[in-house]
């Protein structure tokens, strides 16, 4: 969930015999390879097939599904919406996540573990349950509209549900814990003395943050940004429940095609989604590393 750095393996003993390594690590490896890599390969193959309404699917090898996607402004619009929402949510998560991550990393409070559990709990409760909370808040007679009306800010209830703003608000809340946990684990690894050194040399909090903490926590910021961006791109429950039937992002689009039994097109949409997500994160990774390499 948080940044997965390379695991520190301690090994000073002789190489494990091939037999015992195979028996111990083999079953899990085979299971994951067969249950993940093979299905992804089949999915890729499906994406080059052709849908025949009478026979479900015809084996061919063409790029028609991909051409169909990029030639239709509806589908490219869905992709652009998804990119926009994911980028917006990632920036918001970074801004909202940094202070909380810093406080959690540096606090000496005995409630620290409890605070972390409060951040983790929503992750496991599930997106649908949290979307229900936003629906209660955003509805035309929901808490937000009623409160704003009472204070005379608005006279007519605002349409918040089924808008991009509602979806973005929901996704930010879903992804924020991932960002916080990733940043927290990195900030905890930064020696506190470097901060004190900056202060004792006369730096104010903002200068210290900009010149010391920010450069040092950059790997965590990158990891957290990538993680939240991936999650934002692939959001499903939040856009379905808060965006309604008209608002489409890539995740619901994949499921919709699958429900229409259009497996080849659904498969290619899934691969466009995965490629767009991975391509952008890899590019961001390279750019940031090049920028900060000494």
């Amino acid at each position: 969930m948080a940044a997965t750095g390379p695991t520190q393996f301690q090994s000073d003993e002789a190489p494990t015999s091939l037999l015992s390594a195979t028996t111990l690590v083999g079953p899990a490896t085979v299971f994951v390879a067969a249950g993940l890599v093979v299905p992804l390969a089949i999915l890729l193959r499906y994406s080059f097939n052709h849908l025949d309404p009478r026979r479900v699917m015809v084996e061919t090898f063409s790029l028609d599904n991909y051409v169909k996607f990029f030639a239709d402004p509806y589908y490219t619009g869905v992709l652009l919406t998804t990119l926009r929402v994911a980028a917006l949510c990632t920036v918001a998560c970074l801004v909202l996540g940094l202070p909380l991550a810093y406080v959690l990393a540096r606090t000496q409070s005995r409630f620290k573990n409890m605070l972390i559990m409060l951040v983790v709990l929503p992750l496991f409760v599930g997106n649908a349950v949290r979307a229900a909370g936003w629906m209660t808040l955003f509805g035309s007679k929901g808490f937000l509209n009623v409160t704003l009306t009472q204070f005379g800010v608005i006279t007519e209830p605002l349409q918040i549900m089924y808008t991009e703003s509602a979806v973005a608000a929901g996704i930010i809340a879903v992804n924020l814990p991932y960002m916080v946990l990733t940043l927290q684990s990195v900030i905890e690894g930064i020696n506190r003395n470097v901060e004190e050194a900056a202060f004792s040399l006369g730096a104010g909090p903002m200068t210290m943050f900009r010149r010391v903490l920010l450069p040092l926590s950059l790997p965590g910021i990158l990891a957290g940004t990538i993680l939240t961006f991936i999650l934002g791109m692939n959001a499903y429950a939040t856009p379905v429940l808060l965006g309604g039937p008209k608002f489409k992002m890539m995740g619901p689009l994949v499921y919709g095609q699958f429900q229409l039994n259009n497996w080849p097109f659904g498969a290619s949409v899934a691969f466009i989604l995965m490629t767009a997500t991975l391509g952008l994160t890899v590019t961001a990774n390279i750019l940031v590393q090049r920028r900060f390499r000494r």
């Binding site: 969930m1 994951v32 909370g133 989604l273 997500t277």
Partner: protein
């Protein structure tokens, strides 16, 4: 808090601003759960504010609601079986990854953590076409079957197991094992009498995390459930696509309590702050 050198008023203001920002962010994370819990106690069916009164009747109605009861039981069943298989496969693998030395270890480690990174929607549709192909090739009706659903959930339980067991093995002092071996214990006895008790908290945490991850899974399961077979998160999603009312809020509260309870239990074995 002691006054550190370089403690200035600007640092004090900075600290206040920081604390406020952190509080806002934590409140934002918890806000939707707060409203779900509030709604579950409304007396009226429509989620309008302010509530006309409070009641527990929605909770009392849950046991009579078949969709949610069967959904809960199926989720529970799948999570227990998938977690057990995940542990059986994941624990030996993690031990071998940390203690053993063989080529391709880093690759295997990354492969075993991969299911956490592949998006749920993509994983779900990939497993679906895999099941289609398997059924065509072998005639074995895996599509939409309980076995297929469980196998998918094993896939998300394995990375949690590997991750948590790896963490507890890395944190363990090698010298204890070496002492046991120098006193004449063979590898198996060393593992059973020394290593296993030391990583037991990690195993419990792995079991509970795998359980929680499986129990709450939505996106992948959407593609794997068959007719008449619905997990609790899917039942909640489908209900919410139709309407929001205190009934679904009450079900959500039970889910929050259940998951929260599992987390508190986990925390007794491994501090959650150290493993997530």
């Amino acid at each position: 808090m002691t006054v550190a050198p370089g403690w200035t008023s600007s640092r004090f203001v900075g600290r206040m601003a920081l604390g406020t920002a952190a509080g806002v962010s934590l409140a934002y994370i918890l806000l939707p759960m707060f409203f779900v819990i509030w709604l579950a106690f409304f007396v009226q069916e429509i989620p309008s504010f302010p509530p006309e009164g409070y009641s527990l009747k929605w909770f009392r109605a849950i046991p009579g609601n078949d969709r949610f009861v069967t959904g809960f039981l199926l989720s529970l069943q799948v999570a227990v079986v998938a977690t057990s298989i995940g542990l059986a496969l994941g624990v030996p693998a993690a031990v071998c990854l940390v203690r053993g030395r063989f080529t391709g270890r880093e690759t295997v480690n990354n492969l075993l953590l991969l299911p956490l990174i592949v998006p749920g929607i993509v994983l779900g549709i990939a497993l679906y076409v895999f099941h289609v192909e398997t059924e065509i090739a072998t005639g074995w009706p895996i599509l939409g079957s309980l076995g297929g659903l469980v196998a998918g959930h094993v896939l998300i339980a394995i990375p949690w197991t590997v991750r948590l067991i790896t963490a507890s093995l890395v944190g363990m002092d090698r010298a204890v094992e070496e002492a046991a071996q120098s006193l004449g214990a063979n590898r198996l006895i060393t593992f059973r009498r020394v290593t296993l008790p030391a990583i037991l908290p990690g195993i419990v945490a792995a079991a509970l995390f795998g359980f929680i991850a499986s129990f709450g899974n939505l996106e992948m399961s959407l593609f794997l459930v068959g007719p008449g077979r619905t997990t609790l998160p899917i039942a909640i999603l489908q209900y919410l696509e139709w309407k929001i009312d205190p009934t679904i809020a009450a079900v959500s509260v039970l889910q929050i309590l259940f998951v929260g309870g599992a987390m508190l239990l986990t925390d007794r074995f491994v501090k959650i702050g150290r493993v997530v």
